[in-house]
Amino acid sequence: MASKKIRILIAKPGLDGHDRGVKVLAQGLRDAGMEVIYLGLRLTPEQIAQAVLQEDTDVVGLSSLSGAHMSLFPKTIKIIKEISSKHYLFICGGIIPQKDIPKLKEFGMAAVFGPGTAIAEISKFIQASVVEAR
């Protein structure tokens, strides 16, 4: 049986406009055979949650370089879990101090991919996690 393509939605909550990372990642994951929905920037947690529900994705990727991750990422995950009972893989990136990682994981973030991460590392992680979940 042919395996379904992995669907990932990538979004930037809050006001940070640095999108080099998310755009490069979106292209890289497409090249790796995934279906990528890049929602864009300046989004609220509510907007992201609605899109995740509508797009029926497997993976949600959040990015913030402005330091707002501790308030925006948990909020986004919380709202998604409130409106959908589906199990999603949550990953994130940006400028995220090491000391914040355990807390983010408590909120449901499976992995934090900071500056210097290779695209292959992210795609391998996603593939392994989604296969396990299926």
Partner: protein, 533 residues
């Protein structure tokens, strides 16, 4: 003679950069129009001033701003004590995008990557104990540049200073926001109107103020190559000059106060050549395309910062070396103002220690290395001259293409510039991921790390404090006066008059950034750019 095999099949300056040979000779310069100009002579390839840094060093202008105005004020005083010779203000994202700290979109962002400025009250306290008549300040603000500049002017006037005394720069470059930085509010045409309002007002009232800092930096940081950064910055510059001419202003009345901000990447030689090429290219553009008469209109004056993207989160102390190499290129490339990136760039806002080391880097270069004592010391090197010519050619090719599209604004609307940058960014990532481009600490010479450096932290209650402060301000001010002044802003916005006088009046009533921006939003609407990814 024995052929020695080389480390690579092909050597390029950077990923997607220029192919370079083993060695360069006078033959490589044949066939090109000989540029034998001296520093201070058109086309200013070697330096805009005839005696370079021998009379005056570049301005050491570290970028700073975080949390509350009190904390940022303390950092400014610290930097000044450590030898910073120019101020450079980082504003938090809500201010940049025209939201008050109380706005729902500001949640989590207050004071995070810049200082929170909601009203004139914040601007005044930001400069507590610092005389605005005596310093030079760079304001990194774009969509809300008119408002923030108005606040700076009002704060200065409240200190007793005259507008004619104020020295500094306002970034005010919205075109690059659509391309690479994304803090725009309005559509491109509205933004150009506001941008040129600022430029016109400054040309007529603030003789020591640079009305715009046309950016290459952010496009480079977004992935552009050296040639792309240079070309797109100059192309945007052309658009701004043309827009000012369209308003009926003579080129020499405003162009001397047009400046640029570029990034300095890690390929030392390419960056020196790039800066020389940009000086030559801009001078020719101003003379040949715009018929400038005043030499100052033709001078490519710029601030530069080491591209933050080249800093690694891994083994961060290595970034001190990267900054040093890059800063050396900036100085040997003849910059007017320099911000050295701190070693913790990829991890957090600069700690005091990291900011101090970054300043020391400049001071050691200035006072110990000797490179500031000879102007354009690399001029005459066969390779540097060849590379300067190559980059100038590359700039001209891109500018031609953009001209054919109808100019930078059209190119931006079509997504051309964005796609070029995107392609370079992706090529770079692939080169690093596949090991073709070695980045020490990332894909080679890596270690298992337990980072023990002290990172700068933003206090947890900054947002709460700022919100309370803003609410108190709104309760205490004359809200009727605020209302009238906001109406005046709307009125002027709808007309063809310059928005600045009405903005200076409204900020003096302690109207907030959000209130003023909303008044403009009501007139102009908000722009939502289609995602190009």
């Amino acid at each position: 003679m024995e052929e020695v095999s080389e480390r690579k099949k092909e050597f390029r300056t950077t990923v997607d950069g220029i192919v370079v040979k083993n060695v360069y000779t006078p033959d490589d310069l044949k066939g090109n129009e000989q540029d034998v100009s001296l520093p201070g002579e058109y086309p200013f390839t070697r330096h805009i001033r005839s005696n370079g840094y021998r009379s005056r060093l570049w301005t050491m202008r570290q970028y700073a701003g975080f949390a509350t105005v009190q904390e940022t004020n303390a950092r400014y005083k610290y930097l000044y004590k450590q030898g910073n010779t120019g101020f450079s203000v980082a504003l938090h994202l809500p201010t940049q995008i025209g939201y008050d700290s109380t706005h729902p979109m500001s949640a989590g962002e207050v004071g995070r990557c810049g200082v929170a400025i909601d009203s004139l009250q914040d601007m005044e306290e930001l400069w507590d104990g610092i005389s605005l008549a005596e310093i030079s300040t760079s304001l990194t603000i774009n969509a809300t540049a008119p408002i923030i500049l108005a606040m700076y002017i009002a704060a200065a006037e409240n200190q007793g200073a005259k507008q004619s005394q104020l020295a500094g720069t306002v970034q005010n470059d919205v075109l690059k926001e659509y391309i690479a930085r994304n803090t725009y509010i309005f559509d491109p045409e509205t933004s150009m109107r506001l941008t040129t309002d600022v430029c016109q007002y400054c040309a007529q009232n603030l003789p020591k103020w640079n009305s715009i800092s046309i950016c290459g930096y952010h496009m480079r940081d977004a992935g552009a190559t050296a040639i792309q950064e240079a070309a797109f910055a100059l192309a945007n510059g052309i658009t701004y000059v043309q827009a000012m001419k369209n308003r009926g202003m003579a080129v020499d009345s405003f162009a001397p106060r047009f400046t640029f901000i570029v990034a300095c990447n890690i390929n030392f030689l390419e960056e020196v050549a790039k800066l020389r090429a940009m000086r030559r290219a801009w001078a020719k553009i101003m003379k040949e395309r715009f018929d400038a008469q005043d030499p100052r209109s033709m001078m490519f004056r710029f601030h530069v910062q080491n591209d933050g993207f080249t800093s690694t989160a891994q083994q961060p102390l290595n970034n001190i070396i990267r900054t040093t190499i890059s800063a050396l290129a900036c100085v040997m490339g003849g910059c007017q103002s320099l911000a050295t990136t701190s070693y913790d760039e990829a991890l957090a806002l600069p700690s005091e220690e990291a900011a101090r080391i970054a300043l020391r880097t400049q001071q050691i270069i200035a006072y110990e290395s000797g490179v500031a004592d000879v102007t354009d010391p690399l001029g005459g090197s066969y390779f540097i001259e060849w590379l300067t010519n190559e980059i100038e050619d590359g700039i001209n090719k891109y500018i031609s293409t953009i001209d054919e599209m109808g100019g930078a604004m059209e190119a931006v609307k079509k997504g051309y510039i964005q796609r070029e940058i995107q392609r370079s960014a992706y090529d770079y990532q692939k080169a690093v991921d596949f090991g073709e481009q070695v980045v020490v600490g990332i894909n080679n010479f890596t270690i298992e790390e337990d980072l023990k450096i002290q990172l700068h932290e933003i206090g947890e209650n900054v947002e709460e404090k700022q919100i309370e402060r803003l609410k108190k301000l709104k309760r205490g001010r004359d809200n009727e006066k605020v209302g009238h002044a906001l109406n005046k802003v709307s009125q002027v916005a709808r007309s063809n008059d310059n928005i600045m006088p009405a903005l200076i009046e409204v900020v003096k009533t302690y109207a907030t950034v959000g209130e003023i921006s909303d008044a403009l939003r009501d007139v102009f609407g908000e722009y939502r750019e289609p995602s190009i990814a």
